[in-house]
Amino acid sequence: MQVVIVEDNVLLSAGLELILDTRGIEVAACVGDAPTFLAAVEEHRPDAAIVDVRLPPTFRDEGIKAALQARRNRPELPVLVLSQYVEQDYARELLSDGRGGVGYLLKDRVSRVGEFVDALERVAAGATVMDPEVVAQLLSRRDDLVGSLTPREREVLALMAEGHDNSTIRSRLVVSDNAVHKHIGNIFAKLGLGQHDSGHRRVLAVLAYLGSGRTGG
């Protein structure tokens, strides 16, 4: 796999390169600002892009804008956005085009190398990956919506929202395949959401549901 990284902090970009290198992922280009990044994506046609939110010149949300622009230029480009903090609004904007291949993670997650590379690979494969922190924020604010769920169902809902597929949910919670199916069925029934297959559509549906002020899906 080949990736392009845009990260203005040299310490962090060197760390990322080190981690990806040990896992056999090729870094085609590592750049420090949005315009160079867009050019690098055109030049290298990477399998995925890793984007930092704060970039020069203003160090605000240039990374989000650059990620959206890169996906407008190349709609199939998977993008994994990394940030020192998560903001639901950014997650919403990244997901707004409704296509998969989007990830939004805290930079902290990079240190769990296995999980980070796994997330990158899932994004590259077209899945949607959300940081547990985003999901936790959504869940904590929506007691009204998820109050009817059992604790176990909440855990399953959170893992779904983070973009995990059924087999990962099963192994994370150490339960049987059947149990996972039953929990998911219950969740969708209780929340009044239409069933979705396990792809990014399910993530979008769950996130949209948690992010909305309405009940029902």
């Binding site: 605000r60 903090y85 639901q88 609004d89 902290d108 002020g213």
Partner: protein
Amino acid sequence: MTDAVLRTAPRVLGGARYLLITLPAAMVTLFAPPLLLAATMTITFAGAGFVVLPAALGVLRSWAEWHRRRGSRLLDVPFEPRPLPVTGEGPRWRRYLRDRGVRRDLRWIFVAIGTGLPTGLLALYVVGDVLFTCIATPLWWVFPEAEPLRLLLVVPVTSWAAALLAPVQVLLVGALGWWALPRLSRWHARTCLAVLAPSPEDEMARRVDVLTRSRADAVDAHGAELRRIERDLHDGTQARLVAIAMRLGVARESLTADPETAAMLLKQAHEGTEEAMTELRAVIRTIYPPILADRGLLGALTALTTRAGVPVRLETDDLGRLPAAVEAAAYFVVSEAVTNATKHSGATNVLVRLGKRDASLAITVTDDGMGGVDESKGTGLVGLRGRVAALDGTTDVSSPAGGPTVISVELPCRS
């Protein structure tokens, strides 16, 4: 005609009243120069004057201020007090004597006497003569024959026919008063205010004083904020980093001898770094929420309100540029108040309003919940109050049982 008379009547009566009070006031003021002179003389008595003189000047200032207040009221202009320089460098008597306002007070004494006595006497004459004529004329026969009542200064009233001149006198004197009293009273008030009014230099000095004070307050608030951040970083993040470094140090030493322990310590250190990062993120959020840096106050509040659990309406005026500390506090206030409304009050609608009011930012958060907020029960309002107080702002919570709950905050933001 009647309309015009009725319209001017309040001004005439107001003017007459003003001047009738001015007359005794001016007579009292006559005593000011000798009294002040006496106060100065007491300096020779063991320096008692250094105490007596400032006291006397203080009384003079109050007396002059009373005149200014009356004048402002008559002219319907705003009254701004001129406080004496009570605090400052050097002994009080020297500060007072250097004060431009005190010198103006001293000049005003003579103006007050010079203008107050004649105008006051004229008012007394007009009012007195009208009243006297009205009362005395029907009683003309009481006056002794040698000293009869005289109307129009010369006509002696010795018969009821002559007494018919009284209305003429009343009308003449009344007309004089009607024309003169409002004008004279206003002229007197204007003169007093002009003599006592602070010059542009004084005004500038006063403004500098106010700004210096508010700046000192801001520096204090800033200091308190820095101490809080220092504490958070010192007790939290720094302590965690030390713990991580210790574990890594031991792990390095035991890497070959005891790889199992080393692995466990590495795992703990790794978890420690994650905790430190989470904590650091929380501290950063309290210093200056990153979304605020990214999107500004309006963008940050929009993001905040759209993700709340209940519908929140956000109304803001044009807020212009606000100091970063005020923006951060405003964001914190709205965040806490909205969380409070959605978590505890059972509200179905929340209204957030932000507006500039003079030199402060006014924030009100209203919810239609059940009210009865108990601040002692960890509702986050304690933190909110502290944050607002650190910026010298005010917090007002109104939450009657049954609702609605209104949280009003004012944050000073002189820029």
